[in-house]
């Protein structure tokens, strides 16, 4: 069946068409100003603006020189702690000395090429995954395969099967950036689907399903993450049958996933409730069953509108990973705190915290920027 071609608009049939162009007008005042006038107007346009500008300049003039002096001009880039103390500025050679420790943690020194390779593989996978054109079921298979390879490289075994040629490295020696990234990424990846299921379960018509989901969400949200980690680390082993030993890092990872899933569930529930009733009824009226209705109509909209809240949860979770010190695992931040206790490098806490802040900021800012881009491209239809 062919749809009829739309008829082109016949211009001549209209009663009035302007034949000549209107005279050129100067641009309105608020565009096309010269740079100097624009600056003058923006920063000194009113007495209040002028006061704010001058105030800010004074604050900067007061803060910047000592800051730059400390961070750059008097800083020490190579040399030992004594050289740092004499120079009096920031001691970046301390960060330089501890840099690889902060990347790899307690991982055996001579085997560090393995986590290095894992980081490279991980970066490659992330680079592929952020591009929408690669989004398909194959990407999930690729991640599962990549995860197995990463795990094999790191630990020297996959699900208990030793990888020939690689020495086993127990998870308690994993550390640094790797642990932080692993916990955050796999925590988020698994918390996402579980969170959706929990959110749907909480709105379910079946009392039992609803009860289970409500209990999970409310229990986890009512308990601090650190006590969940404590339970996973010290209480769970007491309940396990003798001889069964679940790895500590995995126990912590499970605690993270459960925690993040509960929070994600509430985020998704907010999204589900924000979808107008008409969408549900519309789906019902065209005869979709429950799973079709959710999959095709409701969830795509609910997930889209909750992107800012999802990213909020992920960023929070990323920063919470540092609590794994409680189970004796040295994540990125803990490696730095640990380096502060090196008797040869005592007293450079500020440098360590600046470095940590920079790394966390880069990661969180990247997440935030990516989510905003995603929001724009996914929300094409609803943009105002």
């Amino acid at each position: 069946m062919n749809a009829p071609m739309p008829t082109p608009l016949n211009v001549r049939s209209l009663s009035f068409v302007r034949g000549e162009t209107l005279p050129q007008m100067p641009p309105p005042d608020d565009v096309r100003l010269s740079l100097s006038r624009r600056v003058a107007r923006t920063y000194f346009g009113s007495p209040a603006n002028a006061a704010i500008t001058i105030g800010c300049i004074l604050v900067l003039a007061w803060l910047l020189p000592p800051l730059l002096n400390w961070a750059l001009f008097k800083a020490t880039w190579t040399g030992n702690a004594t050289a740092c103390r004499e120079a009096g500025g920031a001691c970046w050679s301390f960060i330089r000395e501890k840099f690889w420790f902060s990347v790899f943690g307690l991982y055996p020194f001579e085997l560090r090429w393995r986590p290095g390779l894992v980081l490279a593989l991980f970066a490659g996978m992330v680079a592929i995954s952020v591009q929408q054109r690669f989004w398909s079921i194959k990407l999930i298979y690729a991640w599962v395969a990549a995860l197995a390879v990463m795990w094999g490289l790191m630990g020297g075994n996959v699900l208990g099967i030793p990888v020939p040629g690689l020495d086993p490295v127990p998870t308690r020696l994993w550390g640094g950036w790797l642990v932080t990234i692993f916990l955050a990424v796999f925590g988020a990846a698994l918390a996402y689907p579980i969170g959706i299921v929990l959110a749907l379960g909480r709105r379910s018509q079946r009392p039992f399903v609803r009860l289970v989901c409500v209990c999970w969400i409310e229990f986890i949200r009512g308990v601090p993450l650190i006590s969940l980690l404590f339970i996973a680390t010290f209480i769970v082993p007491l309940f396990m049958p003798t001889g069964v030993e679940l790895d500590r890092l995995i126990r912590a990872q499970i605690a993270f996933i459960m925690f993040a899933a509960a929070y994600m569930a509430e985020v998704f529930r907010g999204g589900l409730q924000a979808i107008p009733k008409g969408q549900y009824e519309g789906a019902d009226s065209i005869g979709l069953n429950y799973s079709q209705k959710m999959r095709l109509i409701v969830l795509p909209q609910a997930l889209k509108i909750t992107i800012p809240a999802q990213v909020n949860t992920f960023i929070g979770m990323f920063k919470d990973t540092t609590l794994v010190l409680i189970i004796g695992i040295f994540d990125f931040f803990t490696t730095l705190r640990s380096s502060l206790g090196d008797a040869n490098w005592l007293g450079f806490a500020t440098e360590a915290y600046v470095y940590a802040a920079a790394v966390y900021f880069v990661c969180c800012y990247a997440m935030s920027q990516y989510s905003q881009r995603l929001e724009t491209t996914l929300n094409e239809g609803q943009r105002r």
Binding site: F230, L238, S338, G341, L346
Partner: protein, 343 residues
């Protein structure tokens, strides 16, 4: 929160019977596993236990662990270091995550006897809360500090000991309470308080970071007793003996003048039966404590030296911490270290 969590772990442990005492059980388990799991202070503790840039644990407490591993296995590398925090150390020991804590845990009555039921086989470091003051104040005793402002960390026993001490001596103080040790030191350095209090070893570490370390003195009073030593679960006499005698061997070696450099020569030439028994030249002691072999003490000394050498390497005057031996000298030199004889 600490007590609450420890309580849960302890109750769990009791319900599920993981602390049922059987002689030699822990030691058997360690031997079967092939490694000693040693709890060290995380993230780190200057001089006592710090991972180096290559991620290898180093320090005074670390070498105590490795010495115990030599006694058990004859091999200092058969140790797994498990970082524990002040909150997680006792649950970790109770549920078997670690076999031994070597993280500056103070030996107290309740820790020895309470629900946790730990054993403290030996003391390796006599610490105690001390006070530091600027030299220009000309103070020679903490009792002269009436009305002083004191920089102190909140919520620790440090704060409690401090107020106890001032109350006992009927003098008053004004606390300046700051959580982070770095900030606290800065406050003291800038003169916001007259007195800086902490445990002696920590205080000495902080002193090195002051603008002019020489202008400050740590007063001789110890306003609390903090005997620190390796901690194990109660109920394994064999392991207790082994840990205790590992420490005693280090102390006895210093008393006899046996060092890392001369241990082989001493073993070959010394005629003192006490030395010959300790070094396994006359066998029997190793078998008696259940060590891997008769050379246990000799291997330890050959690897790490005697107590004094370990102390000097990590805490002594040549290190940035520059601790004096003080109470941690052997008894013949005015300290408190006194080990029973090996016979």
């Amino acid at each position: 929160m600490k007590n609450w969590l420890m309580g849960i772990a302890a109750v769990g442990a009791m319900l599920f019977g993981t602390t049922v005492a059987e002689a030699g059980r822990d030691l058997d388990q360690i031997k079967q596993r092939g490694t000693l799991r040693c709890g060290v202070q995380g993230p780190s503790n200057p001089g006592f236990g710090v991972p180096n840039a290559q991620g290898v644990w180093e320090g005074f407490n670390v070498e105590i662990c490795r010495s115990v591993a030599i006694s058990i296995f004859g091999d200092p590398t058969k140790v797994e270091f498990v970082p524990v925090t002040t909150q997680s150390r006792f649950p970790a020991l109770t549920n078997g995550e670690v076999d031994m804590l070597s993280n500056n845990t103070t030996w107290t009555l309740t820790r020895d006897t309470g629900v946790n039921r730990f054993n403290f086989p030996a003391i390796v470091f006599y610490d105690g809360q001390s006070v530091m003051v600027p030299r220009r104040l000309n103070v020679t005793s903490a009792k002269q500090l009436n009305g002083a402002t004191v920089c102190v960390q909140p919520g620790t026993t440090t704060e409690l000991n401090l107020s106890d001490f001032f109350r006992q001596n009927n003098i008053t103080f004004r606390p300046v309470v700051i959580e982070a040790l770095d900030e606290l030191r800065r406050a003291y350095d800038q003169g916001r308080c007259d007195v800086f209090t902490n445990d002696f070893a920590a205080l000495a570490a902080q002193r090195t970071l002051l603008t002019n370390p020489r202008d400050h003195v740590i007063l001789p009073e110890r306003i609390s007793k903090e005997p620190l030593g390796p901690t194990i679960r109660q109920g394994d006499e064999e392991l207790t003996n082994l840990v205790a005698w590992t420490v005693f061997a280090l102390i006895d070696a210093e008393e006899f003048g046996i060092t890392k450099a001369n241990v082989d020569q001493v073993a070959a030439t010394n005629t003192d039966p006490r030395v010959r028994r300790l070094l396994g030249v006359e066998p029997g002691m190793g078998a008696a404590i259940g060590a891997a072999n008769e050379n246990w003490a000799r291997t330890i000394i050959k690897t790490y030296g005697n107590y004094g050498e370990i102390f000097d390497r990590w805490l002594g005057p040549s290190t940035p911490l520059a601790l004096e031996r003080g109470q941690n000298n052997i008894w013949t030199k005015g300290g408190l270290l006194y080990a029973p004889p090996a016979r």
